[in-house]
């Protein structure tokens, strides 16, 4: 059902955890629907230096969170904002149709964390 890439990110998720003194925190989704993604970012000189996530959700939700953090790290804020859910799906080597919404959540979680950072700045 899942690609090897998805299973890899589910089994060994990158950047799990939180950042105590995060510059921005975004949380999207809700427990009712079975997915919550929370992302913490650390920003320096407009560049995302560090990112961590915590996710309540299915295998795809965890894998998309994981790969999204990899895609974001080292990028400028502007570049990070341009990451679409399609790019996330592609990076994972595809997702089952009914799991595509997880990639949307990942995109939204990044945006939410950046929004939070912008608002605080």
């Amino acid at each position: 059902m899942y690609s090897d890439k998805v299973m890899d990110h589910f089994t060994n998720p990158r950047n799990v955890g939180d950042i105590k003194d995060a510059d921005g925190i975004g949380e999207v989704g809700n427990a009712k629907c079975g997915d919550i993604m929370k992302m913490y970012i650390k920003v320096e000189d407009n560049i995302i230096k560090d990112i961590k996530f915590k996710t309540f959700g299915c295998g795809a939700a965890i894998a998309t969170s994981s790969i999204a953090t990899e895609m974001v790290i080292g990028k400028t804020i502007d570049e990070a904002l341009k990451i679409t859910n399609n790019a996330v799906v592609e990076a994972l080597g595809g997702l089952p149709h009914e799991k595509v919404h997880c990639s949307v959540l990942a995109e939204q979680a990044i945006k939410a964390a950046i929004d939070d950072y912008m608002a605080k700045k």
Binding site: G34, K38, C58
Partner: protein
Amino acid sequence: MERKYFDYSATTPVDSEVLNEMLPYFNNDFGNPSSVYSYGRDSKKAIENARYKIAKLINADAREIFFTGGGTESDNWAIKGIAIALKNKGNHIITSSIEHHAVLHSCKYLEKHGFRVTYLPVDKYGLISLEDLKSEINDRTILITIMFANNEIGTIQPIKEIGKIAKENNIYFHTDGVQAIGNTVIDVKDMNIDLLSISAHKIYGPKGIGALYIKKGIKIDPIIHGGAQERKKRAGTENVPGIVGFGKAAEIAYNNLDKNIQDLTNLRDKLIKGIFDNIDYVILNGHPHNRLPGNVNISFQFIEGEALLLSLDMVGICGSSGSACTSGTLDPSHVLLAIGLSHEIAHGSLRLSIGKYTKEEDIDYLLQELPKIIKRLRNMSPLYEKVKGGE
């Protein structure tokens, strides 16, 4: 990696004795049972023999057993077949909110075609209320269909009492016995059951074969029309090897019923206790003891079921979940919501169902792996973080 199978409620492997009994009917005694010649006569005899064994398991008469393509077809047939046969008598059906989709979707279909359906609520254990049932009966009620035992949470309904109420009110009573058969005593006479759906692949028989018990004298329309098979009630060339396998599976189930129940209950209780002793924030779903001997259903708070299943699969353990993510729908199991779980808790449910090949060491292995997995997933969960934060 050797697999540890904890999903007997989904399906079971075919018992090797059963398979051996089936084999000759694929390419040796393969004749069409409707034929005049000896080939066909042999398969006809084999069918009648199987019918007899199945009847015995539920205390019915062999002539009251009709073969179908599975439990789903049996449920569809019972409900639609009665509805259409009795539509001049009434258009009201009573069922419960925790039925299998084969029952629920048959009811929904009938609602689109002029029938009215009452879905009885259940309490936190998954039991319907007999008082509710009585109060919903009216003079347009033609059928009560309440499942014998639930496939997700294992709760066993007070079938005999329901049968009594149905009989007193002169209403046909159908029960979906797909999960109950072989796992608890079913006596259609004593329990006043008019129609009973069963399926072979839940009792170590093959997939794609089921049966509907139809009490003698019950008025029911066919839903599969065609040839004169099954005394003109269910058309189609008979699945002879499937029927033979179902018969053998029923025979084995009958001979081992008491022992099977006892063994499974012991293992099940060990499993439940082991989980409660080793993991916190867990909730047992279903009735504490009025449940299928092989069913364990537990919600693990703060995590989601599919992620849990995948993690278990990686250590060779097969289970199932009521999470929405495993079904491709948005909502978690209607059964878990009906017993009052929040969406969040329902998403974190795990069903572990055991069967006759489950060994004590399988349980030990599960109890060794599960806590690690739960811990790992909870450590990733933003919900758990909040709880820990508050501790």
